[in-house]
Symmetry: C2
Subunit: 149 residues, 2 copies
């Protein structure tokens, strides 16, 4: 039997967060932070509701995880996020020295890869986990939004 | 007589914020956001106090300015910050579409210039305003910190 606590398992949790964002009319991106197979923070994009460009899922997840841990470094933590982090979020993850970033869909336009944002030397990054599911949710969001206008 | 509301005038306000950070034992960086010669947001670095790498002066200033304006875009706004923004802050400023960034001292190691962070096409950037003052404050901070340990 497959280990239940694998990347797919935790990415599903991040996808649930993305769905919560979708239901609020937010660009559907969700994130969770995991330590030792335990989710210690979960968040979804709230930029519209909060009128705040800094309210990306990852930023809130970093803050929540730091609160939980009582320290600003996210050593031994993995961030699962449905979309490849942008410059801002990758820059925040750089400062956090997080151990691992696992993302779903690639962001060809604004992702940290194409933008050339530097990650911390301690940080590993891996993409493509449930990418299709994350991508379909994003596409549905933008189609519905276009039809509403 | 010189126009009182020039870059030096507003950078002094940002420096006052940096001094407030210094007094709290925080890396002394301060920022203000200005619209039509009026300060609408002020903030200083609080990463230690809040145990949160995202609590840079600029990030808080962006959030505060958005709250004040009731919108997430900082069009017609200028951010004055005592130190060149990092990848995270420049990435946030990208999303905000802010009109202008004026910084004091250059950050040769972690600044958005050397890191290659992209700014929004609508954003102008200018450095070197009261750079010496900002730089002296930073140096004093790190000397005192070293002596305490």
């Amino acid at each position: 039997m497959e280990h239940p606590f694998n990347d797919t398992y935790f990415m599903k949790k991040a996808l649930q967060e993305a769905e919560a964002a979708f239901e609020k009319g937010e660009i559907p991106v969700g994130a969770v932070v995991v330590v030792n197979d335990r989710v210690i923070a979960r968040a979804h994009n709230l930029t519209e509701l909060l009128n705040d460009v800094t309210a990306h899922a990852e930023m809130q997840a970093i803050t929540a995880a730091s609160n939980f841990l009582g320290g600003k470094y996210l050593h031994n933590c993995t961030l699962y996020v449905t979309l490849e982090p942008c410059q801002m979020c990758a820059g925040a993850l750089y400062w956090s020295q997080i151990s691992k970033i696992v993302y779903g869909a690639r962001d060809e336009k604004r992702g940290c890869g194409v933008m050339g944002t530097k990650l911390h030397p301690k940080t590993k990054i891996k993409g493509g986990i449930l990418a299709e599911e994350a991508s379909i949710l994003m596409k549905r969001f933008f189609i519905e939004k276009r039809n509403m206008n």
